[in-house]
Amino acid sequence: MNRTITQLIWLTIVLTLLQVVCNKIILFNVATPIIFIYVLLRLPMNMPKVWVFTIAFALGLTIDIFGNTPGMNALSCTLASSVRMPVFYLYALREDEMKTVVPSITTLGVGNYFKYMSTMVLIYCTLLFFIQAFTLHNAILTVERLLCSSVLSVALLMGIDSLVSTKREKRL
């Protein structure tokens, strides 16, 4: 458990700094990678909700302060963290066994983990980009942006996942 927490803290610091750089990447004028959300995806499922909400809010707020977007990431992050549980149980079949589990490829299987990750990223991107746009004016551009950003983010997150989890899961 202690190792999970230390790993999460390191992950948070590294991914936040990476996100600061990633915020400047706009591939083809539409896709911005969002990778700090990975921390939220990897929180253990048995973590008290109070902590999940607080971590999500703090995480979003940090990104906001770096990016001069007051409230945008904080709001979408907090909202996304509230649907994390339902999305997880949508794909996890053996509910009772899953209660104490950190979502990863080993616990969910590649297919389900990928689905869990894509759903969460899509939800997050939808929230973020519509909050950013704040209107339905230029809605097509917003939808384009959120779809492209989701695809790019999921691809990057799978890469980050393979970097972060290989060592530990090989031991398992």
Partner: protein, 285 residues
């Protein structure tokens, strides 16, 4: 009552959730959050330090292009100096008795480096590595070698946040070079290369390629700083005015060194402004 209390205690994480959502929404929709706090912007010392670190690495990337820009600009200015010198000499020959005095120097420059910059957000900001300790104050104009960049918004001790021209909150008074028609320049949230010059009178004439410069009606920018060139007519929201699409000369994706314009006569001009007196009185109330 007991049941209610029990329920509240059991579900308290949802109350926390609602509180977080409310805080975020307040931050999001607050009318004027930007001037209020240095701590919650990129001008605070922690974020500025991180950005300086990043900028010291990424600053090298565009050096070649920027160098070329500078060379070009330098050549132009040198030509201008030669031209002006010749002109002064001619006048001196024509009017040998007159004493041509240099005009009162009103504007000065402070050079700064851009440490963070965004162009893809709906509201874009730039962070620079000079702050109140270097004499930077809010509402000072910022330019680079190619044209207008923005206006200083929040200052920390050693860093400041600049509202980019690519921010719909920023309106810049501009005019067509060699004519007196003026309007205000606004970014429409689309491409970072183009902006819209609004509120021009309907009877004005223009041709594609005309230069747009600052009007000098505010104390922020001196008159005649290049902003962009006319590309064509823009779609109009109202029928009473005329709008032009302008290609900006500043390359916002490659900002590195900028100059902050300090106006020595700003206080004097501000004191003359009748609106300012009103504000002061309101504040006193």
């Amino acid at each position: 009552m007991n049941n209610l209390l029990h329920f509240l205690i059991k579900q308290y994480h949802w109350f926390l959730f609602i509180i977080y959502v409310i805080i975020s929404v307040i931050m999001l929709v607050k009318d004027n959050p930007y001037q209020q706090s240095v701590y919650l912007t990129s001008a605070n010392s922690v974020t500025a330090t991180v950005y300086e670190g990043i900028a010291s690495v990424t600053g090298y990337v565009h050096l070649k292009d920027i160098n070329e820009d500078l060379q070009e600009r330098n050549a132009l200015l040198e030509m201008e100096v030669v031209k002006l010198r010749n002109e002064i000499n001619e006048y001196k020959i024509q009017l040998p008795d007159s004493n041509i005095q240099p005009r009162l120097q009103q504007f000065n420059f402070v050079v700064a480096h851009v440490i963070s910059n965004s162009i893809a957000q709906p509201n874009n900001y730039i962070t620079i590595n000079r702050g109140s300790g270097d004499g930077i104050k809010p509402e000072m104009g910022v330019v680079d070698q190619n044209g207008i960049v923005g206006i200083v918004d929040v200052t920390g001790p050693h860093s400041a946040r600049v509202i980019s021209l690519l921010n719909p909150d920023m309106k810049l008074s501009c005019k067509l070079k060699n004519s007196e028609y003026f309007g205000s320049m606004v970014w429409d949230g689309g491409s970072p290369q183009y902006a819209i010059l609004e509120e021009l009178p309907k009877h004005m004439k223009f041709s594609v390629g005309d230069t747009i410069v600052t009007s000098g009606y505010s104390s922020v920018f001196p008159e005649g700083v290049i902003v962009g060139t006319v590309v064509g007519r823009a779609r109009n929201l109202t029928d009473n005015f005329f709008s032009l699409k302008v290609k900006l000369t500043t390359n916002f994706s490659q900002l590195s060194t900028v100059r902050i314009i300090t106006n020595d006569m700003r206080e004097e001009l501000k004191a003359l402004d009748p609106n300012n007196d009103k504000e002061k009185k309101d504040n006193e109330k």
